[in-house]
């Protein structure tokens, strides 16, 4: 199977799930039921940024899905793959939004799920000024918990914002590794769709700080590519859905680094196969052109701005 077919396949699968989820929600709550994320002025931020339309209820969500369907063109061209990736991301946002119906709190400690505008305002400035030199999106389970945690820690020590999706969250917990927005390691959720919450950060950064016009998808993609130094680390095995999400990341200018070389053709600067997880950090930073000058201070604890918000508890 070609990479493009995998993206299209993953996108179709996510679309099917989304359609099912929306229909089920309508059956349960009726069309007029309000849909929103908590603490944001941007409705469903990704869909709003791409189309300029604010979705407020399930009826509009169903209509929005129709718009998403039009992005799912199936020519064998990168443009189609990019749009499929964007469509996959939007579907993920819809699925996640449904989780929040009726003020539900679908995520519990240590996961964050949706991040509020306030968090973005807080992180956004250091992000665009370069004080946070990068955003790592880590997806799946590392070969061993120790390798996963070592990777997280290596980014953290460089001041990079780390977001976690899936098995890596359990791996951090297993080793008792401290996570949280205050130490810039944010577990998003266990489902792959929860990755949208970090995309939402990048997108809202564009709307808040980049003065982007909602609906100008081209400008959005250019902004994220030029200004949001994010990258994805996806652990093996990656399925078609993750490949489709990856296409969305690459469309936004974020390279994907994976240790899965099974049916994954590498693409320079965009999709990089790195079998050695201990080299994910160096590979990712080079791929995203993130240059960090580190003065190593020989002390027995980690040292970086990421630890500034750390809370020391008794005991």
């Amino acid at each position: 199977m070609t990479l493009f077919e995998r993206v299209f396949g993953g996108n179709d699968a996510v679309y099917g799930l989304t359609e099912g989820a929306i229909d089920a929600a309508i059956a349960q709550h009726g069309e007029e039921k309000a849909v929103s994320f908590p603490n944001t002025a941007y409705a469903l931020p990704c869909y709003y940024a791409v189309t300029g339309t604010k979705v407020t209820n399930l009826k509009e969500l169903k209509e929005a899905l129709g718009v998403v369907k039009t992005l799912m063109t199936r020519e064998n061209k990168l443009n189609d793959v990019f749009m499929s990736g964007v469509a996959t991301a939007l579907c993920a946002e819809f699925i996640e939004a449904i989780k929040y119906i009726d003020g539900a709190q679908p995520y519990e400690e240590p996961c964050y799920g949706h991040l509020s505008d306030a968090v973005i305002r807080e992180l956004g400035v250091p992000l665009v000024t370069g004080d946070i030199p990068g955003v790592a999106v880590i997806l799946g389970s590392a070969p061993t918990a120790q390798e996963g945690v070592d990777l997280v820690k290596s980014y953290q020590a460089q001041g990079i914002l780390v977001t976690l999706v899936g098995g890596i969250i359990d791996q951090c917990q297993e080793l008792g590794y401290k996570t949280g927005a205050n130490v810039r390691v944010i577990p998003l959720g266990k489902d792959v769709t929860s990755v949208i919450h970090v995309v939402s950060v990048a997108v809202r950064a564009g709307l808040i700080f980049g003065n982007l016009t909602p609906g100008d998808a081209g400008a959005l993609m250019a902004y994220t590519k030029d200004r949001v130094p994010a990258f994805v680390n996806a652990f093996a095995p990656i399925d078609d859905v993750i490949v489709a999400c990856g296409a969305g990341a690459i469309a936004l200018g974020f390279p994907v680094i994976t240790n899965d070389d099974n049916d994954v053709p590498p693409i320079p600067k965009s999709l990089i196969i790195q079998k050695d997880v201990s080299k994910f950090n160096a590979t990712s930073l080079e791929a995203r052109d993130i240059k960090i000058k580190i003065t190593n201070i020989d002390i027995p604890v980690a040292f970086a701005s990421a630890f500034e918000g750390e809370i020391i508890r008794r005991g």
Binding site: T2, L3, F4, N76, K77, L78, N79, V81, F82, P265, P266, I267, P268, K269, S270, L271, I272, I273, Q274, K279, A282, T283, E286, A287
Partner: protein, 630 residues
């Protein structure tokens, strides 16, 4: 930065019309007029069904007279004509290559010609099994040159450079008996075979056409390219400009036209000479401006960033600007019309090669030993001629585009190194290009080559096809007058990436390249052969499996046919926008468009409708991808 916009063919034509007005004023002839006088063309010639190889003829084949006097049928006649056409092209390129070998042989530490890329020389020497350790670079140069010269007439064996091809391709060449022996031998074998009473079997004639072509692409042309790099430097990316607007109203304009860089390099050298520039100022000019036409232009643009004034059908326009002090030519594709045309202006038409002598020209015999003084004399003559300009006739169309050129195979690999990841990848290979192709980000590559031909609205086919292909994520490598058409339109401006599909656009951004890569002159198509060979090796596939095709949409010369034959024989499907003279024979047509595929895994497609030609190339590329499973 001003808004980027391609120059349209309509704008080219408006500029030409304005220049033709000047021409009409001074009573100049022009190709546009001569085409009218020659039309319609003789049908027998167009079909290839006319034979004049002995004095029993001329014979021509009709339904009532299906055989010539000797009894040869139309297939034999068409096949022989096609083979002679090929041999003409192969001889032309190969003689160019031979001249370069001689120039290399004449190189000396204190001479006119020096070795500028010793590394490349050593690489070739090693490839050929020539001892390099502890040797003086000029001793080595002379031995390599001599070894190269032997390739033209050695009694035994096949061409040395064939070993550069993938094993599979070499096996095909051996199996099909198309592996070329000595270069000159293949040309004379072609002439022998086509003599009255020798070969009249289409299959044998076409097989020799492929072999003769290969002796050019993997012999003469390849040596021409490689040794030009050794002598004048291997091209690397350089910014320049293209179209007639590169000529300067207040400077001495010297146009170099032809093919062999031995001449043009030396002219450029002396045009930069402070003594000459001072002399130009004395004559009332602000400086000396060298610009090029045709392949010699490609050579100096690739290596020095010398601006490109125009391609084949622009050569008269250069003189029609009234601002051309001298048009200095060597060999090939030079309109004899330039002689009489230059007489209508102050322009000096300077021929330099005993191979290409023309009436109404000033002949300054150019050779390696006296190159310096010859070039100086020519530049001086041009400078002195500035005073004779007729200001009332001067009109330089105000149109030019930026272009980034200089994409030799070496430069392409270096550029690709820039997108590798040091944690994962090796540098110095074509792997990143292969990955882009294999993943589908780039759908494939098209080598756009060839001439202009008045049978096609000049440059439209080149430009329209390129626009279509890049929009479909197909990267273009271009050479010759095709490359010049691209440069003049603006397709070699890096900003032209905006016209690409998302995949190619991303690649152009990451690698910082234009979507159309200028690989050089017509002999430099040998660079493309090396590129596909290396790509096939790194992808571990056969050349014929690569989603790559060749295209000559406005081809004209015998050289183009020789090129087409070696491209096909290398395993690359080739698309033509102008019909070769073979339609008279169903057998030859069938062989070229289909039958040779059984021998060399590729064939020709001829399609005069340019839009359909583009669709056919895209379809072939997708077919190849599907077959590869990528």
């Amino acid at each position: 930065m001003s808004e980027f916009k391609l120059t349209t063919v309509e704008e080219f034509e408006q500029a030409t019309s304005r220049l033709l007005e000047t021409g009409a004023k001074v009573g100049a002839d022009a190709w546009q007029l001569r085409v009218k006088k020659q039309s319609p063309h003789c049908k027998f010639g167009e079909e290839g069904a006319c034979c004049r190889i002995c004095t029993m003829g001329p014979c021509r084949i009709t339904p009532k007279a299906p055989r010539g006097i000797c009894g040869c049928d139309v297939h034999g006649i068409v096949g022989r004509n096609f083979l002679r056409f090929t041999a003409g092209g192969a001889a032309t390129h190969s003689d160019h290559g031979r001249e370069i070998c001689h120039t290399l042989y004449a190189s000396a530490a204190d001479g006119n010609y020096k070795v500028k890329d010793p590394e490349k020389l050593i690489r070739i020497a090693k490839e050929w099994g020539i001892e390099t350790e502890g040797r003086d670079i000029y001793d080595l140069a002379h031995e390599v040159a001599e070894t190269g010269l032997m390739e033209y007439g050695k009694p035994f064996g096949t061409q040395r450079f064939l070993k550069r091809a993938p094993q599979h391709t070499q096996e095909i060449w051996e199996r099909e008996e198309v592996a070329p022996h000595a270069i000159d031998r293949e040309v004379s074998r072609a002439m022998h075979m086509t003599h009255m009473g020798c070969s009249s079997k289409a299959e044998a004639l076409i097989r020799q056409s492929l072999r003769s072509g290969l002796s050019d692409g993997w012999g003469g042309s390849m040596m021409g390219t490689e040794f030009s790099d050794v002598l004048f430097g291997t091209p690397k990316p350089v910014d320049t400009e293209a179209n007639l607007g590169v000529m300067k109203e207040d400077e001495v304009n010297i146009i170099v036209h032809g093919h062999d860089p031995s001449l043009s390099e030396m002219i450029c050298e002396y045009a930069d000479d402070p003594e000459m520039i001072a002399y130009a100022k004395e004559m009332g000019a602000k400086g000396i401006n060298v610009a090029g036409v045709c392949c010699t232009s490609n050579e100096v643009a690739m290596r020095r960033g010398i601006p490109m004034a125009g391609n084949f059908l622009q050569q008269e326009n250069v003189v029609l600007t009234g601002a051309c002090e001298a048009i200095v030519v060597d060999v090939q594709c030079i309109f004899p019309a330039l002689g009489p045309l230059s007489k209508c202006f102050h322009t000096k038409f300077v021929t330099t090669s005993p191979i290409a002598q023309m009436p109404d020209s000033e002949f300054i015999r150019f050779d390696a030993k006296t190159a310096g003084e010859n070039a100086k004399a020519i530049v001086k003559m041009a400078v002195e001629n500035f005073r004779n300009r007729k200001p009332e006739l001067v009109h330089i169309p105000n149109m030019k585009q930026n272009a980034t050129v200089g994409y030799s195979v070496e430069a392409i690999i270096k550029t690709l190194d820039g997108v590798t990841n040091s944690q994962v990848d090796e540098t110095g290979t074509l792997m990143p290009l292969w990955q882009c192709v294999a993943s589908g980000v780039i759908r494939g590559a098209v080598a756009m080559v060839g001439c202009n031909n008045p049978k096609v609205r000049p440059d439209t086919a080149h430009i329209e096809l390129m626009k279509k292909l890049i929009a479909n994520d197909v990267i273009i490598v271009a050479s010759g007058c095709s490359a010049q058409a691209a440069a003049r339109a603006g397709l070699m401006d890096k900003r032209a990436r905006e016209l690409c599909g998302a995949g190619l656009k991303r690649v152009c951004e990451l690698a910082d390249i234009p979507p159309v890569l200028h690989m050089g002159s017509c002999v430099d198509i040998s660079r493309m052969m090396i590129l596909v060979s290396e790509l096939a090796k790194i992808g571990n596939v056969n050349i014929s499996q690569l989603p790559v095709v060749g295209c000559a949409p406005e081809w004209m010369s015998e050289k183009a046919v020789s090129i087409g034959n070696y491209v096909v024989a290398t395993g690359i499907d080739t698309f033509l926008g102008v019909e070769p003279y073979v339609s008279g024979s169903s057998e030859v047509t069938e062989l070229l468009t289909n039958g040779v595929r059984d021998w060399v895994e590729a064939a020709y497609t001829v399609e005069k409708d340019i839009d359909k030609l583009g669709d056919a190339m895209l379809a072939r590329i997708e077919e190849k991808r599907a077959a590869l499973g990528v």
